[in-house]
């Protein structure tokens, strides 16, 4: 996809996030889904190698959503990529649905792993990347890790092993929105130097504006030189909906009709602002 297409993909995803959150009639993880959307647009719109008609294609790149509560930012990506149908997408949180508030492994739907408990997905991604190395398989493994998730010690166990094994076929994107369930990371468990931490663990680290499509694309293209790659994406929780940005009550919340309409309006305003700002391409 080109820059305008990726931008549009991300915009559509944000709209879908609001739509399915509202239609679910329940509290959902909105803030952290909006923060990861530009990264997901680049991943599913440009970076990942997959066959939408054959989600089990053995050579597909693997994507593991380690921050499992980010599904609202995941299902719209699978929809936009044509891996899941609108019909399946619309079953979100219906009784008995395959699409619930945390991903459940379903290779036919492009969901590589079950997640929800934090700090698990990155370990599995390390195992997959190592397997690919051993089997000389050409695919790349990507995992999206929440910054709050890095509170879990197992994330750093995985980080250590990944660099020990020189997994240059593994990329972890850290959705560094600096907020977690109980508030700002700096107040819950101080993690202000994410890039340095991954660097210290032997990773090739690139820090980017997680809402700058071009910068994200460039980061994915960078050669990690025999190391696993961490893209520390500085993001804004609730990105695109002005009244949600920086307001952690939208970490997990229910959209009323009023809020939903306000959010859609705010999203449209935000999109207009972006196009008004012209081409920062």
């Amino acid at each position: 996809m080109s820059y305008p297409e990726l931008t549009e993909f991300a915009r559509t995803m944000r709209q879908k996030i609001l739509d399915i959150s509202y239609h679910s009639g329940t509290s959902t993880h909105i803030g952290g889904a909006l923060s990861m959307t530009d990264v997901m647009a680049v991943l599913y719109g440009k970076v990942l190698n997959f066959d939408a008609q054959d989600p089990r294609w053995p050579e597909r790149d693997r994507f593991i959503l380690s921050k499992g509560h980010g599904v609202l930012g995941f299902y719209p990506a699978l929809l936009g990529a044509g891996i899941i149908s609108q019909e399946v997408f619309d079953t979100f949180q219906q009784n008995g649905s395959d699409l619930i508030a945390h991903p459940v492994m379903n290779l036919d739907l492009g969901i590589e792993s079950s997640n929800g408990s934090l700090g698990h997905g990155i370990s599995m991604a390390v195992g997959i990347a190592f397997a690919a190395k051993k089997q000389a398989k050409p695919f790349h493994t990507y995992t999206l890790v929440g910054d709050g998730e890095t509170n879990e010690g197992s994330v750093w166990e995985a980080a250590m092993l990944a660099s020990h094994l020189k997994l240059d076929n593994l990329t972890a994107i850290i959705d560094y929105n600096k907020q977690q369930n109980d508030g700002f990371g700096k107040d819950v468990l101080h993690i202000d130097n994410m890039a340095e931490r991954f660097r210290a663990f032997g990773w090739h680290v690139i820090e980017v504006d997680g809402h700058d499509i071009d910068a994200i694309v460039e980061a994915f293209e960078e050669d990690p030189l025999n190391k696993p790659k961490a893209i520390v994406a500085n993001t804004i929780k609730g990105k695109g909906v002005s009244f949600m940005e920086g307001d952690n009550s939208w970490h997990h919340n229910r959209l009323t009709k009023t809020n939903y309409e306000a959010a859609v309006a705010a999203l449209n305003n935000s999109n207009n602002e972006r196009s008004d700002n012209g081409n920062n391409v």
Binding site: S114, M124, F130, A132, L161
Partner: protein, 322 residues
């Protein structure tokens, strides 16, 4: 591996850990997809020779059991047949949630192998004892839980597990100079218990290290005129229901014997099976207390905790005369 009385004696001297390493080494050539992992306990798990013989099939995760299970799951997802081992509490409890999410939930083909199950770690103390592991592992859906009776059965189990598709918890009990139950080859099938001795008065159902002690207890009971059956219930989950139906049909009392907390292990599994049937069969659970215990050498502890043959026989006698 050829099973003879000589090999049974050699393996018994090595103990279950060493034999685990030998068995894995022996099957490596037959399973191209094998991957063996350890969390910095390769040398304690009999895996040194495996590590040097098959470096490409071995991955040390370091002292990081949670990540080891996650990585094992990733390898399994890409087609590897993974055996990942550590001391019982560190794999069954420290990484229990990884086993639940990565192995149970996704049904990935990883064998989580616990060495030093029960109280065999002796003076290392309760931190290293695996006495709650079956309770935790048994509660995880999709997980098969197996505990071999002796070193020969460790070999049989490793061979079977390597061809078994699905997640499994393997519990190795006992120490070096492990008592011998089997001296000849025999039929072993995961999920199918083994009748070792037939008797008319009571049925002892045991797993792991307690199979041998139960056989010895049955001998002692015979001297008292009590005739006991002994069943090796090596697979604790799923239970061999066909066998249990046979036992129930005979209507005799049941005594379960295990080197595990009385909460949540084999005794609990049998009680859970019996209770809703309302068959009126009496059941005594011989197990470890719900407590941290004073430590010492293995034989001392078995005696102190009433898990040696003599204690089992005494408990059985008291139970049967009540």
């Amino acid at each position: 591996m050829e099973i003879t009385s000589k090999s049974a004696r050699q393996w018994a001297r090595l103990g279950p850990r060493g034999v685990y390493g030998q068995a894995i080494l022996a099957i490596a050539d037959k399973h191209d997809d094998l991957m063996v992992m350890s969390a910095d306990l390769a040398s304690s798990s009999g895996l040194e020779r495996f590590r040097t013989t098959y470096p490409d099939k071995f991955l040390n995760a370091g002292i990081a059991e949670q990540n080891m299970i996650g990585v094992a799951a990733g390898l399994a997802k890409e087609g590897y047949n993974v055996f990942a081992s550590s001391f019982s509490p560190f794999i069954a409890m420290r990484a229990s949630e990884q086993i639940r999410m990565n192995l149970g939930y996704m049904e990935l083909n990883v064998k989580a192998v616990a060495i030093g199950g029960g109280i065999s770690m002796g003076f290392l103390g309760n931190s290293h004892f695996g006495i709650e592991d079956m309770a935790v592992m048994r509660a995880i859906p999709n997980l098969t839980v197996v505990s071999p009776a002796d070193c020969v059965e460790v070999v049989k189990l490793v061979e079977s597990a390597a061809s078994f598709k699905g997640p499994m918890y393997i519990r190795l009990t006992g120490t070096a100079n492990c008592p011998i139950v089997y001296t000849d080859d025999y039929e072993f099938e995961i999920g199918k218990s083994i009748l070792l001795r037939e008797g008319a008065d009571v049925t002892l159902i045991a797993c792991g290290s307690m199979v041998y002690q139960s056989l010895q207890a049955a001998e002692l009971l015979a001297e008292q005129g009590i005739s006991a059956s002994v069943i090796n219930m090596h697979t604790i989950k799923p239970l061999d229901e066909a066998r249990l139906q046979e036992i129930i049909a005979k209507g005799r009392p049941i005594i379960t014997v295990e080197e595990h907390s009385k909460i949540g292990g084999l005794g609990s599994a049998i009680a859970e099976y019996l209770s809703p049937l309302g068959c009126g069969i009496r059941h005594l659970s011989v197990a470890l207390p719900d407590a941290y215990i004073k430590t010492g050498d293995y034989d001392y502890m078995l005696g102190e905790q009433g898990l040696d043959a003599k204690s089992i026989a005494q408990k059985a006698e008291t139970f049967l005369t009540k």
